[in-house]
Symmetry: C2
Amino acid sequence: MEQRFAPVIENEAAKGRVVLVCEHASNAFPAPWGDLGLSEAARQAHIAWDPGALGLARGLMSRLDAVLIHAPASRLIYDCNRAPDMPGAMPARSEVYDVPGNIAVSPEERRARTEAVYLPFHDALHGLLMRRLAAGLRPVMVTIHSFTPVYFGKARAVEFGVIHDADPALAVAIRDAAARMTRMNAQLNAPYSAADDVTHSLRVNATPYGLPNAMLEIRNDLIADAAAQEAMAALLAPVINMGVAEIQKQAKAS
Amino acid sequence: MEQRFAPVIENEAAKGRVVLVCEHASNAFPAPWGDLGLSEAARQAHIAWDPGALGLARGLMSRLDAVLIHAPASRLIYDCNRAPDMPGAMPARSEVYDVPGNIAVSPEERRARTEAVYLPFHDALHGLLMRRLAAGLRPVMVTIHSFTPVYFGKARAVEFGVIHDADPALAVAIRDAAARMTRMNAQLNAPYSAADDVTHSLRVNATPYGLPNAMLEIRNDLIADAAAQEAMAALLAPVINMGVAEIQKQAKAS
């Protein structure tokens, strides 16, 4: 039997509606893939994971009484926020870095990584959402990401990006709440958008079920250590709560 | 551990691109649910399953060298073509029949049926599609259904309905091919359409991945026995092939 890398689920009995998803939580490079020929610096860089995202997600989890699911291995082995046929699922190059172990991925190897990493992640996330939906606790899906402050040599001014797939309601409500409640540079669909194929998890797990959803992107220099991640969680938990309250108000009014 | 009712997969090593899905193949009422208080007549009627659909699907499977996945229990226990929060997932009434065992489904029971029937079906279908997508055999998803010739006392003239979700390309191509190659009354989005929430399987498994997809509905008096199902498979296999060829032509031209 092939090895399967199950995602980690925390606080599964949570009473809150929010389901937090962290596809890029880890920069682990387990066997049989190993380091894909990357240097130590590359394995620590934003191409391998979203630095700070897991710590922030855990801070949000406890404040929102949310359930949290996160990936157990580097996105460079398989990026769980990409479909198996997307180049970005196992990229041969990411920003300014080559990924030697991904330069010639055979169809068999692509299938094996899909089986080992993507399917267990997706099945667990989907099951989590569906069990809650069935039991009447309609989930709100929020994915937690971080982005690099400098990309291809260019500095990014945005600090907090809120990205939506087909239904913009929750993303707009969270961005508006951030504008009212924080001094962060908060922007909709920045530093990228669904057009860049970054909303795969939302598109597969929330959109078809009509579940409220949004993708949150925090600039990683703002969540560089545990203290900063806690502070950011304390700042953003009320922002997310206000966003969810706003769409509940809209749903009642319609 | 809770019981899980895995779907049946046939011809998994198929070389063809088509993945056939039959959510309403079975009128089995296994324990722990049993007959839900239905009469023998009701358990044989179209409310419990799609009569003839599985025989037709198997005939198509061999002619198209397609893989086939079908549900192992009646749609009245859990309708795998409905999300867990839809009333139709475990309907208390279907056409002119009451379903006693579904009149008061508790949240716990709804969750248990979702876990036992919907999740195994969905995980298996999704896995089937993703493994093929990863290996470069881009799937074409076709669901096979039958409908009753008389509904709420009214006769239906349509014989072959082709229903689409967000992407109409394959459905239109198959309907057009049927019009050219057969004398059937073939209609688009009849006897119902995505607006009636009948395209759940397509919406979850094909639409988010951009996979070509269509839902085929055959009037069940035309596939009432094994010979008729074989004859219909012989008629429709070239129609489906022509539809798939047409969208491949369109994809190359664009």
